[in-house]
């Protein structure tokens, strides 16, 4: 809601406050000031003049040479407009005057005497647009004949005054008008404000009004006839106020209805009564299939949930939203039927949303107008039409009844004080605040009976009353206390573990990123790929129409942006949710690990499956273009190192079933020889791999590009179920022994199996082991490889001997043999 300062001052005297102070008062007390505009700012030295004479420019067809006067002095100038004549009062920007910056921005424009084709022009005559009083640039402003001569235009019209734009809160429909905002400012400051009380007339008109067919939709319907009006342009003061408030002037009749709406908050409609058939208006619910051509020329298909106004034969208005084209007030209109009604907010909101038709009227009706305000607004508009359009007052016709004050709310003043954290706020003081807002208050001890005024439909519960008391008491006067510590608090085991996951990725050299989880249909996936998608009904873009089923797609886009920055290499990770439809195959990987990953709605229905995963991606040089370790690139092993560490930190320490197994797999978009599914306890919980050269090429990414993804829910879920602290192991003091073994096996035998042979063979003596070589060659034969492993053996109770070593080697050889592997000495 835009509030011209002069208009506000008509209703509440805040002239003792500077504009800045007024804005502070408003914004600190519930009237959030969004912006202050000042259309016409910079207008200085523009004076009212009368045209003494004019003639054609000797050397230009489209220009006139004009002489104007302020009553004493005559000045000659050149003007391009032709909408004026001798005797007209015009706005003259004199030499040395300034007018607002043209085009909206910058410093005001200063006028100089200027020669135009041989004639010196001493200033210019201003159009409305030049003074930011409207869009009209077809001619200059012609002011009313009774305008005083030789005075500054700003004395006639408040050109350049501040217009304060207030963001109206959703539950304060009463703030959508000057009166409402003035009332609020007055309540905040504890001063009086003016309430217009035009005299209501009971003279009946011959118009029939019937709202019986609008049960539940219309509470009060008020009309008044104004006869003998002359439709024409509104006076400048009225046009200026509409322009300041962002409404385009149309003609005096329509402008008056808009002015009253802005002033009192009650939207009005003006019918050309001569086009209303049968001098009858009926308000009813529409019938499905009925149509109406609205003022904007569009044909609207109606439903039974829409309210309409009809005459004897047809629909003439879409109630509370927009009038019909057939009964529009136009140039020849002489008899006007003014209408003001109280509509059901929800009905107007639904119709307006459905038709995507939001008008100044619907905006107000859907936020609730004062149910007692229709008569006042109609009367005020009728009086203005008499004054501004030469009309004569006709009779009234109405149906329904004005609304009254709200239901009384019983409030315990002691509770209010406690609720706000105040030691004491006497009931009388609270009652005083509430009365300022227009409430009627009965005080009985600490008990308050608060009857809200008709325009405050939002005051229905004690908490609502407490808010009003707090607001007028001043939120800044509320003390600051810290509540006592109520609960043990802290992070859960799984929440702590989530931080450990991040640490593992960071320690591996990966930067954390946060991406948007929206992707198109075609997307690279990592863990448990699926065709299932969680789609969006109103996506931001067509290539972002589904929720991402895997983090790697977005990570690769981040990699691409960094490649675009000519970075030699990049490594990133993200810890976020992925999205799959309920029942997706990924649930097979989650089922055995608690149910913390299942989310349901209040009725117990499953929401989309949205487990947390850790996604990794790296590309190019691992150490940048450093002079040490030149050319070292990121590899799948770097990702595996992170995932291994995550599992080692989160999984039970001595349970081999939690070892992250790697199974070679072939997946879309991935290098067939460099991709492995990661399993624990027999289910896939992750994937690592290098992008297929074609995939990398298609994404314009220099190789190598490696990606990986690990489901975290199994690890975190397990921790929630059995958060057992890790137990220490005694540190062996006896010297350790190191032995090397080489196991030859077909490449199809995963190392995990060979490791099992080593673990079982070495038994309790095994302290650690490392792979230190992998060899493939002709001697081994096709499809064979030899893996060399160094074992560190140690016994808690004795010094190991060569005999122990020999036994271990024999045992490993036996186990390896069972797997089809042989031990090479």
């Amino acid at each position: 809601m835009k509030v011209p300062l002069s208009w506000l001052l008509d209703f509440v005297d805040v002239s003792h406050l500077s504009v800045d102070d007024l804005i502070d008062v408003m914004s600190l007390n519930g009237l959030e000031v969004e912006e202050v505009h000042a259309p016409g700012r910079g207008t200085l030295g523009v004076r009212t003049k009368r045209v003494v004479s004019w003639g054609p420019h000797p050397d230009a067809d489209k220009l006139r040479v004009v002489t104007v006067t302020d009553g004493t002095e005559q000045i000659e100038l050149v003007c391009g407009a032709s909408n004026f004549d001798t005797g007209d009062i015009v706005a003259h920007a004199e030499v040395g005057a300034t007018i607002p910056a043209q085009g909206g921005a910058g410093e005001p424009f200063e006028l100089e005497a200027r020669e135009l084709r041989g004639v010196v022009s001493n200033g210019m005559l201003c159009s409305a647009r030049e003074l930011q009083l409207g869009d009209d640039h077809s001619g200059i402003m012609v002011l009313p004949p009774d305008t005083p001569l030789g005075v500054s235009l700003t004395q006639v019209l408040p050109v350049g005054e501040p217009v304060i734009e207030v963001a109206v809160l959703a539950d304060r429909g009463d703030h959508h008008c000057i009166l409402g905002l003035a009332r609020e400012v007055a309540a905040i400051l504890g001063i009086a404000h003016r309430v217009p009380q035009p005299a209501w007339s009971d003279d009946p008109s011959d118009v029939q009004v019937d709202i019986a067919g609008a049960a539940g939709g219309c509470a009060h319907f008020v009309t008044r006839v104004v006869e003998d009006v002359t439709v024409g342009p509104s006076p400048w003061w009225l046009r200026q106020r509409l322009i300041q408030c962002g409404i385009r002037p149309i003609n005096n009749v329509v402008d008056v209805t808009n002015l009253v709406m802005l002033e009192l908050g009650q939207p009005l409609h003006a019918f050309d009564l001569d086009t209303v058939h049968g001098r009858r208006v009926e308000v009813r619910w529409a019938l499905e299939g009925e149509t109406l051509v609205t003022l904007d020329g569009a044909e609207r298909a109606l439903l039974g949930s829409d309210l309409i106004i009809a005459d004897a034969d047809r629909i003439v208005s879409l109630a509370g939203v927009m009038g019909g084209a057939d009964t529009e007030v136009a140039a020849g209109t002489t008899t006007v039927l003014l209408e003001g009604a109280i509509w059901d907010p929800g009905t107007i909101r639904r119709t307006s949303r459905r038709l995507n038709l939001i008008s100044e009227a619907s905006l107000r009706f859907e936020r609730r107008v004062d149910p007692a305000g229709a008569r006042r607004a109609v009367t005020r508009a009728a009086e203005l039409l008499v004054e501004l359009a030469g009309g004569t007052l006709g009779g009234v016709a109405e149906d329904g009844a004005p609304g009254g004050p709200g239901e009384p709310v019983e409030v315990d003043a002691a509770w209010v004080a406690r609720f706000l954290g105040l030691d004491d706020l006497p009931p009388d003081a609270q009652a005083d605040y509430l009365r300022r807002l227009g409430c009627e208050v009965d005080v009985r001890g600490a008990g308050l009976t608060v009857t809200p005024p008709s325009w405050r439909g939002d005051l229905v519960r004690p908490a609502d009353i407490a808010e009003e008391v707090a607001r007028l008491y001043g939120l800044d006067n509320v003390p600051s206390t810290l509540p006592p510590v109520l609960t043990r608090g802290g992070l859960s085991v799984a929440q702590k573990a989530e931080r450990r996951v991040r640490e593992a990725a960071l320690a591996g050299g990966f930067h954390e990123v946060r991406t948007w989880p929206f992707v198109g249909r075609a997307t690279l996936q990592a863990v448990v790929p699926t065709d299932g998608r969680v789609g969006l009904e109103n996506p931001l873009a067509q290539d972002a129409a589904t929720m991402t089923p895997s983090l790697v797609e977005a990570l690769l886009q981040v990699v691409r942006r960094n490649v675009g920055q000519q970075r030699p290499g990049v490594a990133i990770f993200e810890l976020a949710r992925i999205f799959r439809p309920a029942g997706d195959p990924v649930e097979e990987s989650l089922k055995g690990f608690g149910d913390g990953w299942i989310w349901r709605d209040p009725e117990g229905r499953s929401l989309p499956t949205q487990p947390r995963t850790l996604g990794l991606a790296a590309q190019g040089l691992r150490l940048g273009e450093g002079w040490l370790d030149e050319g070292e690139t990121w590899s799948v092993y770097d990702l595996l190192a992170v995932f291994d560490e995550v599992v080692r930190r989160l999984a039970p320490p001595d349970d081999p079933s939690w070892t992250l197994e790697r199974l070679a797999v072939e997946r879309d978009g991935m290098h067939p020889g460099r991709t492995a599914a990661l399993h624990v306890r027999g289910v896939e919980i992750g994937l690592v791999g290098q992008l297929h050269p074609n995939e990398a090429d298609a994404r314009d990414l220099p190789e190598p590009v490696v990606v990986g993804e690990l489901l975290l829910e199994p690890l975190l879920g397990h921790l929630e179920v059995s958060p057992e602290p890790i137990q220490a192991r005694p540190l062996t003091r006896h010297a350790a022994m190191t032995i090397d073994v080489a196991l030859q096996a077909p490449v199809t035998v995963p190392f995990a199996e060979l490791r099992t042979a080593i673990r079982e063979g070495a038994g309790e003596l095994l302290d650690e082991h490392w792979v230190f070589d992998e060899y493939r060659g002709e001697q081994l034969g096709e499809g064979q490889r030899s893996i060399a492993v160094r074992l560190r053996l140690q016994s808690p109770d004795r010094q190991l001997t060569d005999e122990d070593a020999e036994q271990v080697i024999q045992a490993i050889a036996e186990r390896a043999g069972e797997l089809g592997a042989t031990l090479r000495r």
Binding site: L28, G30, E32, L169, A170, R172, R349, R353, R418, F419, L420, G421, L422, A463, D464, E467, A470, L475, D476, V478, P479, S480, T481, L482, P483, L486, T487, R488, G489, G490, L491, R502, L506, H511, E512, V513, R514, T515, W516, P517, L536, N538, P539, L540, M547, R561, N562, Q565, A571, I572, F573, W599, D601, P602, L607, P608, Q610, G624, W627, L628
Partner: protein
């Protein structure tokens, strides 16, 4: 014979000491030792032949040989030390590094700025006895709206620019972290003190200060006798934890469907002199809006099965992006999501 032998010893001395001087490496020096004092050396031969000498001569020759051995050992020792020193010196010289050059750049990664902000807010509240709650991002409309007192035709629902997953199933991308309030209140009994860090979604067009994906930390405290002053004190504690102990806060009336009273919270500007001059952060007003808060609406308590006659509470929601922008001078939210490594490595 003994004359001749003594002369031989002298000759060996001269040759041995000379050879030792000639030795350039420890290996050569060792060869000299073997050549002149080993089992097959001339000196060994002389000692062997001593048995055939008479006692007097044997004594003379023995003294000469022993003298030579002592002399040889001393000289060997000295030469060995000198050579060993030289070898070590050469090695140290050869191992000289130019430490003015940059080191290997294996750096750990950096947590995302938003993660750091979220953790910092969460940790501040953990210090006040709060625990951390979580909820889904694809959320039931019932939690996101209805239980938060935003019925279907409420204007606030339109203003939230919701991204819908399924209107039929009433699933949305949560527009705020508040639905977790409902999840907590329907499953726990007071006292309740939780914070909810999380990602939220709006169908917003992207610009320097708007992103369709952003992060909030929701706070919720419910118990008997919780007051507006408790809210104010808690918000002050958070503002000071995030922005510095000298900051103040200011509450302004506002409207949220799930709180009553509702307040917007401003923190005093720390970026300017607060003298009305142009300031990028506060536009010269001295105050910066950081979050919305309020006392939990009695209807929300009722909808979540908590007796509003007995319990009261407060809730707040702070935007992590806004805090990051204010505290770290981030000018464009897009920088937070593009993943440019220069940005990531900065924080």
């Amino acid at each position: 014979m003994s004359e001749k032998t003594t002369t031989a010893v002298d000759r060996v001395r001269t040759e041995a000491l000379g050879a030792m001087e000639q030795a350039r490496t420890l290996d050569e020096l060792d060869q000299v030792r073997v050549r002149f004092t080993g089992r097959k050396s001339e000196l060994a031969g002389i000692q062997k032949s001593m048995g055939s000498l008479d006692p007097e001569q044997r004594k003379q020759v023995g003294q000469a040989v022993n003298g030579l051995r002592q002399e040889f050992d001393a000289a060997f020792e000295a030469r060995h030390d000198a050579l060993a020193r030289a070898v070590l010196g050469e090695r140290l010289e050869a191992e000289r590094l130019d430490l003015s050059l940059p080191p290997r750049r294996v750096r750990p990664g950096r947590p995302h700025l938003i993660t750091q902000v979220l953790d910092e807010i969460v940790d501040a509240f953990i210090g006040l006895g709060y625990s951390v709650a979580d909820g889904p991002e694809a959320e039931a409309g019932a939690y996101n709206f209805d239980m938060m007192n935003i019925p279907a035709d409420h204007p606030a629902r339109q203003e939230m620019d919701t991204i819908y997953v399924s209107t039929d199933d009433d699933v949305v991308l949560r527009t705020h972290t508040s639905p977790v309030q409902a999840r907590v209140m329907t499953t726990q009994t007071p006292p309740i003190a939780v914070v909810v860090p999380g990602r939220v979604f709006r169908a917003d067009s992207v610009d320097a200060t708007h992103s369709p994906v952003f992060h909030q930390v929701e706070g919720l405290l419910i118990d008997e006798g919780v007051t507006l002053a408790d809210l104010r004190g808690t918000l002050l504690a958070m503002a000071q934890a995030l922005f510095g102990p000298d900051r103040e806060i200011r509450l302004r009336p506002s409207m949220f469907p799930f709180t009553e009273p509702s307040v917007e919270t401003d923190v005093s500007c720390g970026f300017c002199a607060r003298d009305g001059a142009a300031c990028r952060a506060c536009s010269g007003t001295g105050w910066i809006e950081i979050l919305g808060a309020g006392m939990v609406d009695p209807d929300v308590l009722d909808a979540c099965g908590i007796d509003h006659q007995r319990y009261s509470g407060f809730a707040f929601g702070v935007g992590a992006e806004r805090v990051a922008m204010l505290r770290h001078g981030v000018r464009d939210t897009r920088d937070l999501y593009e993943g440019d490594a220069r940005f990531l490595a900065r924080f």
